[in-house]
Symmetry: C2
């Protein structure tokens, strides 16, 4: 992990930020992307939510790296604020932390027009967003995502929530932010493993609907990892892709489900390891899940084996896991995976819903997947896993 990158307003002005609009009628908002964007947060929040006070929700790790820069920016814009720090890690996405943060926001005497600001990765954003959706039945919400995963995925689109023993994100709300600021310089502070995990979601946008972007990633992934202008380009392209899908289908009645490519398998793996980030983080589950979604599609005769192989090759090239054998520890039988998938939010009338593919860039939602076919596929994946250990 490198040291905190110093940011100031002059940097931000100098560097030309990218703005991606999310078109949702009265709830439209902007994603501001670029190196140094965090230094502008105060001014932009004051512009979008004039006169508001704010509660910053962050975690202990992120607070040590970026909180001071954010507070300075809010002070400069005269945005009064309180800080609520939660423990880092997926375990904070739980009922008791939800209650604690709600109560802390009320302790701070924030009013209905004041803002909840999430400064952190997906955990902070999902939890703080559900708090913002629920306190006083909805307060304005600002996302300052500090992980690649949060910048390209979880901070955009309004999905918020917490985990329960039945599965991930099963309790929550759709609550759109008023503003998202993605400072790509803060990604310099991520561990390589965390950056890679976020990259799985970047690759996803290519795999689900943009073969050209996937080819571009095959050629430019090293520069995206190294932090050149290609990184901004990849983040912006991902946000454009997500914004288009969300604008089209805010509450996931149809097309938005495409964004779950790799997620039905991925969520099940996360549940299997009990959300133990030491064994598997979300983006890694998505990477393995996407490779499985391609291979399952190949097996169903929907997709060419060549496209399946290209996916596995690229994910491996950037260092992402692609098989169950890449997850440390014992795997349960196929039935356990199926039981977990049956609790997925995407289940409808007992039939499993999967995002399948006809090739790279050609994902589609299949609502009537036969659980027996999934069981067979999983059994073969598990055999492959045993053989590899």
């Amino acid at each position: 992990m490198v040291a905190n990158v110093p940011l100031d307003a002059a940097d931000a002005e100098a560097c030309g930020l990218t703005r991606v609009p999310v078109d949702l009628g009265a709830r439209s908002y902007e994603i501001v992307i670029g190196r140094g964007a965090l230094a502008e947060a105060g001014a932009r929040i004051a512009e979008v939510l004039p006169g508001s006070r704010a509660a910053i929700v962050t975690d202990e790790t992120v607070a040590g790296l970026h909180l001071e820069a954010l507070r300075a920016s809010l002070d400069a814009a005269e945005v009064g604020h309180e800080v609520i720090t939660i423990p880092a890690g997926e375990a904070s996405k739980c009922f008791s932390m939800f209650q604690t943060v709600c109560e802390r926001v009320l302790d701070a005497k924030l009013e209905r027009g004041d803002a909840v600001i999430a400064l952190g990765g997906g955990v902070v954003g999902d939890l703080a967003g559900f708090v913002a959706a629920s306190v006083r039945r909805g307060m304005p919400f600002v996302q300052l995502p500090t992980s690649l995963l949060a910048q390209v995925d979880s901070s955009v689109g309004g999905k918020t929530g917490i985990n329960v023993r039945h599965g991930k994100n099963l309790i929550g709300a759709f609550h759109q932010p008023s503003l998202v600021i993605a400072d790509t310089a803060v990604l310099d502070t991520l561990s390589p493993r965390e950056f890679r995990a976020g990259y799985a979601e970047v690759a996803k946008y290519g795999l689900l609907g943009d073969a050209g972007f996937f080819s571009w990633l095959e050629a430019n992934h090293a520069a995206v990892f190294a932090g050149g202008p290609e990184r901004e380009e990849a983040v912006a392209a991902s946000c454009w892709a997500k914004a288009a899908v969300v604008a089209d289908d805010e509450r996931e009645a149809g097309r938005r489900a495409l964004l779950n490519l790799g997620h039905t398998f991925g969520h099940a793996m996360e549940a299997v390891v009990a959300y133990d980030g030491a064994r598997l983080v979300h983006g890694e589950g998505v990477a393995i899940g996407m490779r499985m979604a391609f291979d399952f599609s190949v097996e169903l005769g929907l997709c060419s084996p060549e496209d399946g192989a290209r996916v596995e090759t690229h994910l491996t090239a950037v260092g992402l896991p692609t098989t169950l054998a890449d997850i440390p520890g014992q795997m349960p039988p196929a039935e356990t995976f199926l039981d977990i998938m049956a609790q997925d939010k995407k289940v409808s009338r007992g039939a499993l819903t999967f995002v399948l593919v006809r090739g790279i860039g050609e994902a589609f939602v299949e609502r009537g997947v036969d659980p027996a076919r999934v069981r067979e596929f999983l059994a073969r994946e598990l055999e492959r896993e045993s053989a590899a250990r």
Copy 2:
């Protein structure tokens, strides 16, 4: 409390139900009102949410009276269902019960298109509605209100929530039901005190915007209490009034705040007695609060003393409390009330918002009420209270 009224489909067909539409675009729904409506619940749910299973959330008291009738109606319509019973009383509107009911809905393996049905009064409706809003980020919700208060107020309009130590309903969601069924026969099972408390909200619709309805209530309140056709008329008139306001301003950006006539004072009184229903129930707080809102408006020179007196006379005539002295136990100083009101959801930029009146049927929202004027008024109310004891 009288015995459970037998209900069957033949009764329902015979009695001609009233339907009140709530016009909210894609989220529009109907309120079905009349004696015997509960017997039709299964058929109507199957019509509005075809193919859905359901979780019935109810409390121990209501379950003993009406659960069997509802289950028979759901069975007849082949709507599979589970029952989740919570303890009766305001204390159930808390974080831990919210968590418990969410988990029970997930235990029942309900899917995103399945329904949460609230069978009960305001507590059950508010809690179950917040659960329906949050599980899988939103499931269809059906309200079967069994108290007068719930039938004319809390079941319509989509406000859901739980209480925290900072105040009532401070955590929740706007989540519109898909259907509301108000069976006025079930009101025969209410205690007189509970019926009266609900009647305060009925009177509110006259006081805030319909002087003619208030005059009608002055003439017909005995028949409304006795359970004649005037009762259906009063419930339907109240639902029409609420539906019009909600359709106009779903998320309380403006006109909907009129529905809070009497509620800023009322909520503060409820907080003062720590939501102890033995001392004060919601509708009683609203009755006292409405009388105070009229007298405060008289004191501010906005309303004639004659209208103020008419309000006090009518509320007293039906047996509702109208002064702080009517609340058993000690009252705190005015400052405590002000502190509580400063935490109200309706506070904006430090100024207190009150619903004031220019006369009966002429309420308006005043956003810049000087706390000093409120303090003086409360001090006089408290003097009157001490003198009366």
